[in-house]
Amino acid sequence: MRVLIAEDDVLLRQGLSLLLEVEGFEMVGAAQDAETFLELFDRHRPDTAVIDVRLPPNFSDEGLRAAAEIRRRVPNMPVLVLSAHVDHEYAGELLGSGTNGVGYLLKDRVGEVSDFVEALTRVARGGVALDPEVVDQLIGGRPAGDPLGSLTDREHQVLDLMAQGHDNAGICSLLGLSTPAVSKHIGAIFGKLGLSGPGNGHRRVQAVLTYLRK
């Protein structure tokens, strides 16, 4: 899989490139700012991109805008955005351009290499990878009487993982549950939240995210 990255910090840029190469990705380029990133993007048309939110010159949200820009040039272009801090508002802006192939993770998560690689692969295949902290924000702070309050603890765990973008198999292995058990929980969650039929993995994630972002 061909990957392009945008990260301003030299050490992190090298580390990320090395990590991705070691994990079998083909690095087509590593930009230190958004402008170079967009140039390299047009030249190489990678399969997926990894972008830091804060980039020169202003170090505010250049990376986020670069992500939106490549998704404008190539609809549903898979992109994974990394940030030193995450917030559901930015996640909403990213997901606003469609829930196909979008990732938004804390930079720290890169340290858990296998999880990171799994997330990047998921995004590259058109899936979603949302940071657990963002999901906590989306789920927390709901008024009393919200249907979310009626979920059991186990259903909450399953919902968390679904909102993070995991499919059935992922949820099974992460929670150590059998496939029928997970399907049962998902059915219960959809029933309680009043969402329509579970459908396939990605459609379910979309339904959950649409519900949570209301």
């Binding site: 505010s60 508002e89 720290d108 927390g140 702070g141 008024p143 919200d146």
Partner: protein, 309 residues
């Protein structure tokens, strides 16, 4: 307005008198030297008579003495009186007076400096006792790993996990400190977004109304943000309430922030430093803070910030 009127009238009168006396003095003393140069129809008249002959000219220095003594007697006094008049008019205007304004600015500047000092102290403590210690632990573990990697790989795996946990903890704390200094979202997206993020992180259900808020000056947005942050922390820690609501509104010339809970009330500003510190922070941008917390609740914290700068 009143000052402008008084000052222009008094100033003009005093100015004219001063000018007449000054010119009169100079003309009277010097006219014996030059009166004969003027044609008769333009003869000067510094006193009560025309200077058109040598005897008349000889008397004018006496008239000059009169001018001079009037000048010395009147000018310094009227200048003093004029300055006192202006002083009195400007200072007797209550809240709008210059003196009151200066006192207010001095107080808010003192508050700002005090808030700044306590903040720096807190940040130093957080970084020093938290993040730095965690990073030291990471470094120590890495050193240890280097020593035992070859001899005891089994133990090294365990240590590696501990090291990763310490690094994660350092990062978590650092994010927390960064957010407590100046939330990145506040800079990028403004008060409404930053407050809605606060509400989403709040341990209790919290609703936010912030319609049509727009952007306010950075100092106001920051102070308003910290009012909400502190108030929500208090709701969670002390109020025993089950939910909170935040309302942010912008009216002509001010931003209003109101945080209400459904807790037991009885918040005491003098019991802890939280609310007192908050009052100082609000005052540092010339805002006002009202806390209403009757014994049986609910507690409402309301801050109003002038923002027509």
């Amino acid at each position: 307005m009143r000052w402008a009127l008084e000052n222009s009238v008094a100033g003009s009168v005093i100015g004219c008198v001063t000018l007449v006396l000054a010119v009169g003095t100079v003309v009277s003393f010097t006219c014996p030297l030059w009166w004969w140069l003027l044609p008769a129809e333009y003869a000067v008249n510094p006193g009560l008579y025309r200077v058109d002959s040598w005897p008349a000219a000889a008397v004018t220095p006496l008239v000059g003495l009169v001018y001079l003594s009037l000048y010395l007697a009147l000018v310094p006094r009227s200048a003093l009186w004029h300055s006192r008049l202006a002083h009195r008019t400007l200072l007797q205007r209550g809240d709008h007076g210059l003196l009151a304004r200066i006192t207010q600015i001095t107080a808010s500047r003192d508050d700002a400096l005090e808030v700044h000092r306590t903040e720096l102290q807190r940040i130093e403590r957080d970084l020093h006792d938290g993040t730095q210690n965690r990073l030291v632990a990471v470094r120590v573990h890495l050193g240890l790993l280097e020593r035992i990697l070859a001899e005891d790989p089994e133990r090294a795996w365990g240590l590696l996990e501990t090291t990763k946990d310490a690094a994660d903890e350092a990062l978590r704390e650092l994010r927390h400190v960064v957010r407590s200094i100046y939330p990145p979202l506040l800079a990028d997206r403004g008060l409404a977004s930053a407050v809605s993020s606060l509400a989403a992180r709040c341990a209790l259900p919290c609703s936010v109304e912030a319609d049509g808020l727009g952007r306010a000056p950075v100092a106001v947005e920051t102070a308003a943000y910290f009012v909400v942050a502190e108030a929500l922390t208090n709701v969670h820690k002390h109020s025993n309430g089950s939910q909170a609501s935040v309302i942010l509104t912008k009216t002509a010339g001010s931003v209003l922030v109101r945080v209400t809970d459904d807790g037991h009330g009885g918040a005491d500003e003098h019991a802890g430093s939280g609310l007192a510190g908050l009052r100082r922070r609000v005052a540092s941008v010339e805002g006002t803070l009202n806390i209403s917390s009757p014994a049986d609740g609910p507690t409402t914290v309301e801050a109003r910030f002038p923002c027509a700068y």
